[in-house]
Symmetry: C2
Subunit: 465 residues, 2 copies
């Protein structure tokens, strides 16, 4: 939208004024900045901020944004830096606005089943504090060191979305700061609202391009009494995927339904040194089930086994101890580091309607063959979010853009889209035109301008230009 040359550089005077706002020890202009120059992007994208600014609250953020807006300095909000798309890197220079000091849990409201936390609280700390009070926050994107503000900014998803939805379904309200310096509250501790536009839902998933999220109010549930796992091998991925609607049509709502190919499990076994049961089949479903009691789980397991065995399951594995359960879940959590260890070139989190997962993975394998790149597939069978990991070496990097373009085109042709939970950030923004018409992108840019007329907030992200 803006090009780099239209921004100004931070002058010593502006740096002094920033230091005045946040306190001199909360601004980095030299040493320490390098810790803010990258995230977990598999492309290893880096960008050095001119200054890292660590405000303490929304008022300080408002002052920083006002100053930056008047002086045309880019401001890039940053959470814990666990993003996968370079979304929190200052690719056009300027200020990196770290939310790390906004780390207070403000309220856990037992009567209204809600919690309110500053944006820089880690998901881990938030969940723990909530559980200590006897309630439960079901969001589980895998990376619990992420900040809750970052979860909201990217609309993080994860392994419990079939039953509990993604971040957007769990956020009730926000406090945000606009580039103008206005502090705005959206939503509240209620579940129904038809009072003008839903700014909460617009800002969730906007990747820090519309406003800086400073506070998040989330919906809690009562803790699930019993959680068990079923691990089901199949001789083909399409048989595995075919079981998903059949299970759901029986009125069974698992917390998560993960699918994975055997190749991945072998890699994880090798990487972690921990044995994984039932190897030797083509594909697997891992069902995470909640129930009132172990007895109830057994009944559920029986019904699910009946369905799956009828539709081609080769066997049914029920881990029979807490450690066996833990092992399986940990194997799933280790996919990302395992791929990294094995030369992961990129992480793709495309989405297709869930009935198309098997077709899509088949198509992706063909695309991989075309480019001579091995692609591992796993993901969330319950919600159609497919994770693809092209593996290779430096030599494969030049082909990546075409490979991803082909993969995304295939997903979109099947009625899907680019990203289910990681966002576009910087690394994936070039693919947006595959998923959105020029008119739709123009509309989104007009919305962006409604929030941020001078395009100072996380510029160079989401939109390809």
């Amino acid at each position: 939208m803006n090009n780099p040359s239209s921004y100004n550089k931070l002058t010593p005077d502006l740096i002094a004024r920033l230091a005045e706002i946040v306190g001199p020890k909360n601004i980095l202009v030299d040493e320490g900045k390098e810790n803010y120059a990258r995230d977990e992007s598999p492309l290893a994208t880096t960008a050095m901020p001119e200054a890292v600014v660590k405000p303490q609250d929304a008022r300080q953020i408002a002052a920083v944004l006002k100053l930056a807006d008047r002086n045309l300095i880019p401001v890039t909000p940053r959470g814990a830096g666990t993003g996968l798309t370079a979304g929190s890197l200052p690719v056009l220079g300027g200020i990196t606005l770290s939310l790390e000091r906004l780390n207070k849990i403000l309220e856990i409201d037992l009567a209204n089943f809600s919690a309110t936390a500053e944006a820089g609280v880690t998901l881990n700390d938030l969940c723990q504090a909530i559980e200590e009070k006897g309630l439960y926050f079901p969001l589980y994107p895998g990376e619990k060191s992420a900040f809750i503000g970052g979860n909201a900014a990217t609309n993080a998803g994860g392994m419990r979305a079939v039953k509990y939805g993604v971040t957007r379904n769990l956020v009730l309200g926000l406090e945000v700061v606009l580039p103008s310096g206005d502090i705005i509250r959206t939503g509240g501790k209620y579940f129904k609202c038809s009072t003008a536009y839903d700014l909460t839902q617009l800002i969730v998933g906007s990747e820090g391009t519309l406003a800086v999220i400073t506070e998040v109010t989330v919906k809690l549930i009562s803790p699930p009494p019993n959680r068990e796992i079923l691990f089901i091998p199949f001789n083909s991925l399409s048989e595995a995927i075919g079981c998903v609607p059949a299970i759901l049509r029986e009125g069974i709502l698992p917390v998560g339904i993960e699918f994975m190919e055997e190749g991945i499990l072998r890699m994880v076994e090798q990487f972690t040194g921990k044995e994984i049961p039932m190897l030797g089949y083509c594909a697997y479903l891992m069902l995470i089930l909640e129930s009132e009691s172990y007895d109830d789980f057994c009944k559920l397991a029986e019904r699910i086994s009946g369905i799956c065995l009828k539709l081609g399951a080769a066997d049914i594995f029920v881990p029979n101890s807490e450690s066996a359960k833990r092992n399986l879940l940990e194997a799933r959590e280790k996919f990302q580091p395992t791929f990294k260890h094995n030369g992961m070139l990129e992480t793709i989190d495309a989405v297709v309607p869930r009935s198309r997962i098997a077709d899509f993975v088949q198509k992706v394998k063909e695309i991989g063959q075309k480019y001579g790149i091995r692609i591992m597939a796993s993901g969330h069978a319950g919600d159609g979010n497919v994770h693809l990991h092209p593996l290779g070496t430096e030599a494969n990097v030049p082909a990546l853009k075409d490979l991803l373009t082909d993969i995304y085109k295939a997903a979109i042709e099947m009625g899907g889209t680019l990203s289910g939970e990681h966002g576009l950030g910087f690394d994936k923004k070039k693919y947006l035109p595959l998923a959105a018409s020029p008119e739709k992108i123009e509309l989104m840019k007009r919305i962006k301008r409604a929030f941020d007329p001078h395009n100072i907030l996380n510029p160079g992200k989401v939109f390809p230009d």
Copy 2:
């Protein structure tokens, strides 16, 4: 935003061009227009369109909008006209765009648990078609003759929101037409998306002010096997409300938790001539419960009874036949016509955090006394959406605005907002500044302009000026 004088009137030439677009028999400029001049607004607001235009599809709508946009003619989209806030009335003149001919159910996708319908399909027809295919759409705002497009436009809620959420939680995607004539698709048959801004969620609840919804894709579930009711009398409303978090903390998730005062039930009994059980107490909870089997319901009922009796319930009533169940649900559905019959002056659907419902109702009674107006309270105890019905005569009308202002101020002070499910439309727009800061309203207006730069789409709604 615009004032009436900045719009043009429909000329004979423009009417001829509209007739060309939709066909001469699908435009009303004289007789029949009066059927489109009001909705169910208790204030009996009316506004006569200059022309009623009945397009057949999104392409015709695009042509109508383009023409109107170029000629500065207001266009007011209209569903079934069941709204309660005059939101579908052409208060600044121009075209009423009736969606009634977009009445096709396009797909019920059993594998992906989704249905896609044109905007003018009634909720009733949609639910029936889905149930015939063995799946289920849980939205239940009470008025099943509403169009699904209208449900989306107002973010309709209703009695099953505790478990299933409101319309916004059930909409997966939209086809919409912008004032520019661009036809845009948002979302799709998937449950996870982090691919730029969520236009679906922004347009849902925007009351036809941003775009004309032409197609809605919704999320389905498998049909609940068993549905039962518990009807629980209390000697005070605060005891009744106090049970709600206690039930939820036990991990019990009713489909709906309704509260009502005895006065309402007496009125309904008189109005319908059908006996209501358990009269003689101060307040009631009606719990709608789904379970796998009747046995499971009995276990649930026992747990809930234990909680409620401990917290002050006077008794527990379990309707012991289908007709007894039906009677109770029908009594609840008859609140609106009963109030109408008894001199309802307005319908208020304010929201407070659910722990504050009893305080809020108490405060509302005091406000009613101040103005000498009797106010009946009922609503959705599970989600904090409180329905208030001031009853009276013509003589009470002048006090209404101040009464509502006081009520809304009380709701907002308690952390709530103006409308949970009806929207603001025309009748309630003047109260928006109570709930939203000037900066927030300005931001929303800029979003409105991003969609509709000439303010032709449902002007005179939502925003007070």
